[in-house]
Amino acid sequence: MPTLTASRPLPAEASRPIDTIPITLTVNGSVRRLQVEPWTTLLDLLRDKLDLTGTKKGCDHGQCGACTVLIDGRRINSCLTLAVVRDGCAITTIEGMATGADLHPLQAAFIEHDAFQCGYCTPGQICSAQGLINEGRATSRDDVRELMSGNLCRCGAYTNITDAVMDVLQAEPAR
C-alpha cells in the first residue's frame, strides 16, 4: 500500500517492495491520475510513462536545460525533480505549446530565425523562453542571453535563438 507518512520501520534496501504512490498532474491541460514509484523523476515520467518524448534528456544532472518544462508557468529542470513532489501541479511540455495546428509564436519564431540545427535542445529552449517571458525580467538582448544561459546548444545556434526570443518578447511585452 502506498504510504505518504512513513512511520513504519525502514526495510532493508535490497529487499524493498516497490510501492507506488498515487498522484494527479495536469499535463498540457489534461488531468492525469497516475501511480508512480517515488524515485521516478518528472522527466522519466513524461518520456517513459506518458510518451511525451518531446522533452529531452541531455545530461540528467541539471547542467544543460534540455529537459526544461513549465510547472504552474515556471520553468524548471524536469530531470532534477521527483514526479511525486509535483503532485497537484500543472505541467506544460513542448507538446502543449501549439494550439491545434497553430504554432506557438516561439515555435514560429524559431523556424523563422533558423534557431536550431539538430533540434535536440529546442524543446527545452522554447519552454525556457516561455518561462522567461512569464517572468517579465528580460528586455534587452543581454538580458535574454543571461536569462537563457540555463539552456545549452551544442550546435551553437545561440545568436539565432536570441533573435527568435527577442522577436516574441517585443511582440508580447512582459505580463
Partner: protein, 337 residues
C-alpha cells in the same frame, strides 16, 4: 538511484519525526540531493518531502530585519521587492548563481545545505573523506583547480559552492533552526565549518535539525555593495573566486565594511581583522590592498589552483573599489569595471 521510502511532511512535527535517523534526508527543491542520489553519493532510505511546510514566505521582523522562509525559492528571494530594494547584495549574489530554471526550484534552506562540487566527492570510484570517512582525499595531489586555498586540512580541501551564502555571510544573517531538542538561532559565521578532521560535517546542524528561515539584519548596505563572481564561463558556472562586499561610507570614510570570499574555503571566508584595517580610512587602492592581504594571509594553493591566491587578492581590491564607488557589478553585463 536507490529505492527509498517517501514521506510527505504536513507539519514541522511530522517532518522532525520522519527526518530522524541517519538514513533520512529532507527534500526541498531537490536540485542537489536528487543529483547526488543519481550518482549514488547520497543513498537515503527515507526521503522526507518538506515542500508542503508553511515556510514559503518572507516576513518582516520587529527589529526591521527580514526573515526569508527556508522554502522560498532562490528566484522568489532574489526578485522579492523587499530583497531587491533593501538587500540588493543578496539579490545580486543569487542571480549570479546557477540558471533561471535551477533558481526556480532551489530553495534557501537547500542552498545553505548544498554539498561541495569536488569532483572526487561525486565519483564513488575514488577516495574521499567527506563521502566515505577514512578513505583519503583524492583532490590532494590530484585535480584541484576548484579547491580551497584557505582553511583546508590534510583530510579535505573542498570548497562550499554557494553564491547566496557569501552574501549572507557579509550581511551577518542568522539561521533559524528547529529540531528534536527545540528551536535555536545560529549566527551565519558559525553555520558552515572548516573541514578539520571531520570533513563529512559541512555545517553545525545537528542530526534531524531543519532550517526554517534566514534572518537578515536591518543594516542598510544599499548604496555601497557588490558581488563580483569570477568563473570559467560568464554564466551558469560555479565561482572560482567570488567576493561580496557590504560597506557604509560616512563623510568620505569607511564606517563599516564586510568582505566575504567564495570559492576559496569550506565556508564563506570572512576575517574581522581584515575589515578592521579599512575602518575609518578613506577608500584607496592602498587601503584595499592591505585589507586583501589580511583577508588572504596564509592562503596556499594545492597545485592546480595556485592561481586563486593572486586572483582572490585582485578580486578583493576590485570589489572594494566597486562598492566604495557605488557601482556594483552587473550580473547581466559581465564586464568588470
Amino acid at each position: 538511484m536507490n529505492r527509498f521510502d517517501y514521506a510527505r511532511a504536513g507539519s514541522l512535527a511530522e517532518a522532525l519525526r520522519d527526518g530522524a535517523g541517519d538514513d533520512a534526508r529532507y527534500l526541498a527543491g531537490g536540485t542537489n540531493l536528487i543529483d547526488l542520489m543519481k550518482e549514488n553519493v547520497e543513498r537515503p532510505l527515507r526521503i522526507v518531502d518538506i515542500n508542503r511546510l508553511d515556510l514559503h514566505g518572507a516576513t518582516e521582523l520587529d527589529d526591521g530585519g527580514l526573515r526569508l522562509g527556508a522554502l522560498m525559492t532562490n528566484a522568489e528571494t532574489a526578485y522579492h521587492p523587499q530583497v531587491e530594494q533593501r538587500f540588493p547584495l543578496l539579490a545580486s549574489a543569487i542571480l549570479a548563481g546557477a540558471s533561471p530554471q535551477l533558481r526556480n526550484a532551489a530553495t534557501n534552506g537547500g542552498n545553505l545545505n548544498q554539498r561541495t562540487r569536488c569532483y572526487y566527492f561525486y565519483d564513488t570510484a575514488t577516495p574521499c573523506n567527506k563521502r566515505d570517512p577514512g578513505t583519503g582525499c583524492g583532490a590532494i595531489g590530484g585535480v584541484n583547480r576548484i579547491h580551497a586555498i584557505l582553511g583546508a586540512s590534510p583530510s579535505c580541501i573542498a570548497t562550499h559552492p554557494s553564491d547566496m551564502c557569501i552574501a549572507l555571510a557579509a550581511l551577518g544573517a542568522q539561521v533559524q533552526v528547529t529540531g528534536p531538542e527545540g528551536d535555536r538561532t545560529i549566527a551565519f559565521a558559525d553555520y558552515h565549518r572548516l573541514p578539520g578532521d571531520e570533513p563529512w560535517r559541512d555545517n553545525t546542524l545537528r542530526a534531524g535539525e531543519l532550517v526554517t528561515g534566514i534572518d537578515l539584519p536591518p543594516d542598510d548596505f544599499t548604496s555601497h555593495y557588490t558581488y563580483l563572481k569570477l568563473r570559467d564561463r560568464l554564466s551558469y558556472a560555479f565561482a572560482l573566486v567570488s567576493v561580496a562586499v557590504a560597506m557604509k561610507l560616512e563623510d568620505g570614510r569607511i564606517a563599516d565594511a564586510r568582505i566575504a570570499l567564495g570559492g576559496v574555503a569550506h565556508k564563506p571566508w570572512r576575517r574581522v581583522e581584515a575589515e578592521d584595517t579599512i575602518r575609518n580610512q578613506a577608500p584607496s587602492t592602498q587601503a584595499f590592498e592591505t585589507a586583501a592581504s589580511a583577508l588572504l594571509a596564509g592562503a596556499i594553493g594545492q597545485g592546480e589552483n595556485d592561481f586563486k591566491v593572486a586572483l582572490a587578492r585582485k578580486a578583493v581590491v576590485r570589489a572594494l573599489g566597486q562598492a566604495a564607488a557605488g557601482t556594483p557589478q552587473s550580473q547581466i553585463d559581465k564586464r568588470v569595471a
